[in-house]
Amino acid sequence: MLTVNLLGLGLIAVIVWWFWLYKPTLVKGIPDASEVTVIVENGVYQPAHISIKENYPVRINFIRKDESPCAAMLLFPDLDISAELPLNKPFVITLPAMKKGQYPFHCQMKMYTGSLLVE
């Protein structure tokens, strides 16, 4: 019984660490490109974390492969951008030159989340 309880507590600890404490280091750098493609599929943006240069306009091609209407809406709340992504078709979001900082983007319900890191 003790083993089972310890296992349960361990599992809870893993959940807390995995979802909340872990900081993503998966930033995918594309310092020289002016165009990035993000695939929207299976509950995630790929890549979800994009680093771009400061004061450098960038085009992001979103290709939504997920049929669920949840995946369709794309919002950049800080940049006042919102778009409805068509299915299986590239949709270009042109981002202005931006100042340093982190700019999150997500779907309407924040189930899909990603961020732009401007450096």
Binding site: M1, V4, N5, G8, L11, I12, I15, V16, W18, F19, W20, Y22, P24, L26, A33, E35, V36, T37, I39, E41, N42, G43, V44, A48, N61, I63, E67, S68, P69, C70, A72, M73, L75, P77, D80, S82, E84, P86, L87, K89, P90, Q108, M109, K110, M111, T113
Partner: protein, 754 residues
């Protein structure tokens, strides 16, 4: 990156719209430039249509560059229009719906017979080798169901898990996965679990997958209805336009209409792009666009907007705004953006959503551990059931959908009434407005003042006075000045040259004509300049003011020469609209630069008790601040040009438009039609939407807050009640559907017509 390139290279034929090609010789230049791009097989330009068709595996950007390098602008004709995107979306949704329905049948096909068997008392236990064999077969069938009808849950759960995020898929995958794994362990190795606990739950897995697919399918349908308003707006766009090029009339797609094209529109047709009437006269119905029910007369030099319907005559107009620049396209863009923005009330749900799924996973583990430690035998089975049920019943979607769905319908509904709401925050604040400040000129009144009385004091005649005053006022931008200038031009009076013209804010104007120093303005100006006003004259002016006219004094070299009165007619429905606002418990205040008496007369006419008169333009925002200091949530309505600072300072700024000028930046809400009923409509829609959001949020909170403990078995010690995972699946599938359906009730909201 590579994916996109590949995608592009699959496009063998691409079409571009060329701008700036004015002569036939351009054709050769453009075609040659394109053919020089490596990979281009052929390039053919259609000069009449100003389009070029290119075949070959080349990226669109490269081709556009080639065209630009020879001095023309090009844009891809493949840039999908709103209409195309909408059509594609509908087709995609229909396909997705059908897929979900098939998946539902797969899930229920196995789940329902198993459930019926168990309800009829069939043993769901594994006690003999024969039972093991049968259950193993069913277990494998169930795995097939999971693969064919629920693969998206498992793949989605895995992918998001790897990305350190969790969503609905995670919960469904974990819930159904737990039930199936436990069951298959019981079948494969019954000795691992106590005899009493050798129970299988394949029916739960199959049923849950079936029910959730059904819930999703119904949700897709219901969601489609939430975007009805935007669909209607997009539907207002014409598909083709008849343009006149090289003395020939050709029908082309509206995407190909260029600036300055001449477009012919016959009766019954839609106006394809924005423009200015060049020849012909007609009446145009803009009601779908602005909510303005009366058709409007249009002749030469009048503006027409895309989406309106040409009723009676044929006109030719010159295109002034095309494509994404038309007012209609701007309206669509603005409505779409507002529909996706979130009012502050939704933020709490956002924060909860971010923690929701992991918290539910922890609750499931705690619940299972509690059963294992303290539960009755077979505690393992109870633990599995409670964990599965907790995972399945919890529904982050209902919470997440609560706000956006209502905003979507509410903002769309407002747009139908000719009310453009900038964002979710404006929507929420509008619902709380306690005081509405109305600017007088152009808001309560038509904003088209006319000269009504000229009282001559000296020996000059009326027309001479009007001519001089009009000369003086020609340099002023004040609406009252325009009334005087117009009156003079109607009488064909000749204007004189003015020197030293000066506009004195809030007082009037001064200048020198023929060596005479002239002053035209209110009493304050006369006092400042030492112009003697007799009691009789003041009484005369007051008499005019009491009749809701604005009297102004005209002095030549410090001697009063005349009193000119100007009146601005009150809009027909201002009285009833103000009444509506007051009936809703809103304190209505009028703001004007006019004198006290005129202001009072107008306020009385429209039923307003409070007003601020003689307010200088720059002091309008001070008045707003004063009201806010009293604790009022202030809405300010004005024309959006003169009162921009006041509109910006107010909690909600309403710009009252003259039709389709949607680019009023300082306003939170733009009323496309001139009627003040738009205000009452805006407030009514926002109130209804906020009420709807609250119902949704409350429902979703209560559902989860009550459902999760019940699923964990909190009632078991008292009443012996434990929720079946199948019921949990049904509840969860229909909880988000309920939210979407409730939001859809807003569709029946009707703007009140008066």
């Amino acid at each position: 990156m590579s994916d996109f390139k590949e995608n592009n290279s699959n496009v063998n034929t691409q079409e571009f719209i060329i701008e700036g090609a004015g002569c036939a010789s351009c054709v050769g230049k453009i075609e040659t430039a394109l053919k020089q791009v490596p990979g281009v097989k052929s390039a053919a330009m259609n000069f009449a249509l100003r389009t070029v068709t290119v075949t070959g595996n080349v990226a669109a950007t490269q081709l556009i560059q080639a065209i630009e390098s020879v001095g023309y602008n090009a844009k891809s004709a493949q840039n999908s229009s709103d209409k195309e995107l909408l059509d594609e979306k509908e087709i995609a949704e229909q396909k997705y719906y059908q897929k979900l329905i098939i998946q539902m049948w797969i899930g229920l096909g196995l789940g329902v017979p198993l459930m019926v068997y168990s309800l009829m008392g069939g043993p769901m236990t594994v006690n003999s080798p024969l039972e093991r064999g049968i259950w193993l077969f069913i277990g494998l069938l169930c795995a097939a169901v999971m693969f064919f009808a629920g693969k998206h849950f498992y793949v989605g759960a895995y992918k998001s898990l790897v990305n350190h995020s969790a969503n609905m898929d995670t919960l469904i995958a974990l819930g159904t996965g737990t039930a199936w794994l436990y069951s298959i362990v019981v079948v494969l190795n019954p000795l691992m679990v106590p005899e009493m606990a050798r129970h299988v739950y394949f029916e739960a897995t199959a049923m849950i997958i079936g029910l959730i697919n059904l819930g999703l399918a119904l949700e897709v349908k219901a969601r489609g209805r939430t975007s009805e308003a935007i669909k209607r707006l997009i539907g207002l766009q014409a598909k083709t336009a008849r343009v006149i090029r090289d003395q020939q009339e050709i029908d082309i797609a509206i995407e190909q209409v260029l600036l300055n094209d001449f477009v012919r529109v016959r009766p019954g047709e839609k106006i394809p792009v924005d423009g200015i009437v060049f020849e012909g006269a007609t009446t145009i119905d803009e009601s779908m666009l602005t909510g303005e029910p009366m058709p409007v007369k249009k002749t030469s030099a009048d503006e027409v907007v895309a989406g309106a319907i040409n009723k009676s005559g044929t006109i030719v107009f010159k295109a002034t705004r095309v494509g994404k620049d038309t007012a209609l396209a701007q309206i669509i863009k603005m409505v779409k953006r507002a529909q996706n923005s979130k009012p502050p009330i939704g933020r709490l749900a956002d924060i909860i959503s971010a923690y929701f799924v992991p918290v539910i996973m922890i609750i499931a583990i705690v619940s299972a551990m509690t059963w294992l430690n303290f539960g009755p035998e077979p505690s393992v089975a109870f633990a599995v059931i409670s964990a599965t049920t907790v995972l399945i019943i919890a529904c982050p979607c209902a919470l997440g959908l609560a706000t956006p769905m209502s905003v979507m319908v509410g903002v769309g509904k407002a747009a139908e009434a000719g009310v453009l709401i900038r964002n979710g925050e404006a929507l929420q604040t509008s619902s709380k407005i306690t005081t509405m400040v109305l600017d007088k000129t152009g808001t309560i009144t038509l904003g088209a003042p006319k000269v009504t009385d000229i009282v001559v004091v000296n020996d000059m005649n009326e027309n001479t006075i009007l001519a001089i005053v009009s000369s003086l006022e020609a340099g002023s931008e004040h609406p009252l000045a325009q009334a005087i200038v117009e009156s003079a031009s109607e009488k064909n009076l000749t204007l004189a040259k003015v020197d030293d013209f000066k506009a004195l804010a809030g007082r009037g104007v001064q200048g020198i004509v023929n060596g005479d120093r002239l002053f035209f303005g209110n009493e304050m100006l006369m006092l400042e300049q030492g112009v003697a006003l007799t009691q009789e004259m003041i009484a005369r002016a007051q008499q005019l003011a009491r009749a809701a006219k604005t009297p102004m004094y005209f002095a030549i070299n410090a001697n009063l020469a005349a009193i000119i009165a100007v009146a601005d007619p009150i809009k027909d429905d201002s009285v009833s609209a103000i009444q509506r606002l007051q009936d809703n418990g809103i304190r209505v205040v009028m703001l004007t630069g006019d004198n006290q008496l005129t202001a009072k007369a107008v306020a009385e006419k429209v039923g307003i008790k409070e007003f601020f008169a003689e307010v200088l333009p720059e002091d309008k925002s001070t008045k707003i601040a004063e009201l806010q200091a009293q604790g009022e949530i202030v809405g300010m309505t004005g024309d959006g040009i003169n009162d921009a600072p006041a509109l910006a300072l107010a909690n909600v700024g309403f710009a009252i438009g003259t039709g389709t000028d949607v680019a009023i930046e300082s306003a939170d809400v733009t009323l496309m039609r001139g009627s003040l009923h738009g205000l009452a409509d805006a407030i009514a829609v926002s109130k209804a939407t906020l009420r709807n959001i609250k119902q949704n949020l409350f429902g979703a909170f209560i559902y989860n807050a009550a459902g999760v403990p019940f699923a964990a078995g909190i009632l078991y010690p008292f009443f012996g009640l434990l929720l079946s995972p199948v019921i949990a699946g049904a509840a969860m599938a229909f909880s988000s559907l309920t939210v979407v359906s409730n939001a859809n009730r807003l569709r029946f909201f009707k703007a009140q017509e008066h």
